[in-house]
């Protein structure tokens, strides 16, 4: 190994330590008993490791928060992807009046930052009587994402027209063409978009924070924030909460890391 390569590895390892250490320390602390944490150094290994903090989370209603978060993420994932696919197909493959204008309208909405819609959406949900309901969590994100529609449209346009024409001649309707020709040809972009949606919805915080209150529809991020402000010094319990919020995504990440890395480069968004 040349000294140049050794230098590169040394720097890369340093970066890896700085990246990993906070996660590792948080994870260890989540298995440390509160008594040990209070009497010993914050860095001592848990002896013996305990699940008491996770049991404490269950008492604090984290089980329900986990279910609500998973449900919210799945509902948004399935509906957003479905409606993005149908819209992208219409833009890419069908000819109808107003298509160009509508496409530009969708394009323009990319310039609306998420933070800008929070206050007005809150008023709209309040007027509709949907404050603190499951619908308020999912409705704004269910009907497709303009960004996903753009990427899918680009992708659909690259599918050979002959392929679709051949299916048509065989008597396939639009639904058949979508399900049996277009979707199988677009698997990689669909995985990419699905991952991006899961990551952003699982982590979403500001909207759930303002639109829900109390236990019924609390998601993991809101529950974690609430736990921290309630038990500021009980770090073992709080670290168990952050672990529960983070670990499911790390598992997805470990399984599909390559896809995620590619997804980020392709879409450039969270």
């Amino acid at each position: 190994m040349t000294s140049r390569n050794a230098g590169i590895y040394a720097l890369l390892t340093l970066g890896a330590l700085i990246t990993l250490a906070p996660f590792g320390l948080g994870l260890l602390t989540s298995f440390t008993s509160a008594r040990q944490f209070n009497t010993e150094s914050a860095l001592s290994l848990p002896h013996p490791p305990t699940l008491a903090n996770y049991a404490g989370l269950a008492d604090a209603g984290f089980g329900r928060a986990l279910v609500v978060t998973a449900l919210m993420t799945s509902v948004i994932l399935v509906s957003q992807l479905t409606f993005s696919v149908t819209a992208a197909y219409a833009f890419a493959r069908l000819d109808f009046p107003g298509r160009t204008v509508l496409f530009w309208l969708y394009l323009a909405t990319l310039m609306v930052p998420a933070t800008v819609t929070v206050v007005p959406l809150y008023l709209m949900m309040a007027e509709a009587g949907l404050r603190n309901t499951f619908w308020a969590l999912v409705l704004p994100f269910m009907f497709g994402s303009p960004y996903a529609i753009f990427l899918l449209r680009e992708y659909f346009r690259s599918i050979p027209a002959d392929l679709i024409r051949a299916a048509r001649i065989d008597g396939a309707g639009t639904a058949d063409v979508l399900v049996h020709v277009v979707l199988p040809a677009s698997r990689s972009i669909l995985v990419t978009l699905a991952l991006i949606t899961v990551v952003s919805q699982w982590n979403s915080f500001m909207w759930p924070l303002v639109i829900t209150s109390g236990a019924p529809w609390r998601v993991l991020t809101v529950a974690t924030a609430g736990l921290q402000s309630q038990f500021d010094a009980q770090w073992t319990l709080v670290m168990a909460a952050t672990t529960v919020a983070i670990v499911p995504l790390i598992v997805v990440f470990a399984a599909l890391g390559r896809h995620i890395v590619r997804s980020i480069v392709v879409t450039g968004i969270k």
């Binding site: 906070p22 948080g26 930052p113 959406l121």
Partner: protein, 290 residues
């Protein structure tokens, strides 16, 4: 043929309908609503009533809001250049493509895919003055998050830690896209490693720089979760980023009209940045509808 065309029109609108409903109701209508709210008084519960330019007058003369804008500007000015330089450095190391670098590349993005709220809570413990990791290691008590001069740099550092991997990916993609012919030609001409970096790689990364800087500014200007959990905007408003100010105004102080004004000001500022971004993107995305 006429019949086929009619069917296309019906199918097209049917397929588009759900997303059009969403775009109009949840992206475009909110812009009108926030404009309307900016001239109303609403306390989240009671009736809404028209107050003319009162909200605008009070926000534009509000010292807290002015400070929040300055804090946000300082935050963006700290975070964006730092994460860009560190991301470029990491990408340069990864671009050597030594065995195992794929592992490091994936690892570096980890903080970025995790919940920013959970990350902030994690760092709150690491930085805790008495039983936190850093105080334990240093054997001394430092008020990272409550010292008025330290708080903003520390919040910025946590944000940089989260974002570096993301920035790295784009620079890495940019560097690997440079044709090896170009680099070999420079090498044949006797250019040293540093000269190749300075005069070949850097100029060819210009589009990547542009993308990374613009998206970095837009996202840093909207950071909320991190300050919510780390500092709550304190001490003395030193980390009161604009998204946090809007939240506090609307849902803490129940002054929704004022929050609407602040939202519009943030929107105007970000619009300037995003317009530049999309002018650039037009070259990459095809808008050809034929």
């Amino acid at each position: 043929m006429q019949r086929r065309r009619f069917r296309d029109i019906v199918t097209g609108y049917a397929l588009l309908a759900p997303s059009l409903f969403g775009v109009v109701l949840f992206l475009l209508l909110p812009l009108l609503v926030v404009g309307w709210l900016s001239v109303q008084h609403w306390d989240l519960l009671g009736p809404i009533r028209f107050v003319g330019a009162d909200n605008w007058r009070s926000v534009l003369t509000d010292a807290d809001f002015g400070r929040s804008l300055l804090v946000t500007l300082a935050f963006v000015a700290l975070v964006v250049p730092l994460q860009t330089v560190l991301g470029l450095l990491a990408a340069t190391l990864l671009a050597a493509e030594l065995p195992g670098t794929g592992f490091f590349r994936t690892l570096y993005v980890l903080p970025w895919i995790c919940s920013p709220l959970a990350i902030a809570v994690l760092w709150r413990w690491i930085l805790a003055p008495t039983d936190g990791v850093i105080s334990t290691v240093l054997q001394r008590r430092i008020e990272w998050l409550t010292d008025p001069t330290l708080a903003l740099p520390v919040v910025s550092a946590v944000t940089v830690w989260t974002n570096v991997g993301y920035v790295t990916l784009f620079f890495l993609a940019g560097i690997l896209a440079i044709p090896t012919d170009v680099l070999n030609a420079a090498r044949l001409d006797g250019a040293t490693g540093w000269q190749r970096f300075r005069h070949v790689i850097l100029p060819m990364l210009r589009p990547t720089f542009f993308f990374v800087l613009v998206t970095g500014i837009v996202s840093a200007a909207q950071v909320f979760d991190t300050v919510y959990a780390l500092t709550g905007g304190g001490p003395q408003g030193r980390t009161d980023l604009i998204a946090h100010r809007i939240y506090t105004e609307a849902f803490g102080a129940a002054a929704v009209g004022r929050a609407a004004v602040m939202t519009l000001i943030l929107f105007a500022l970000l619009l300037g940045v995003t317009v530049v971004q999309h002018l650039y993107f037009r070259r990459r995305v095809s808008y050809d509808l034929t």
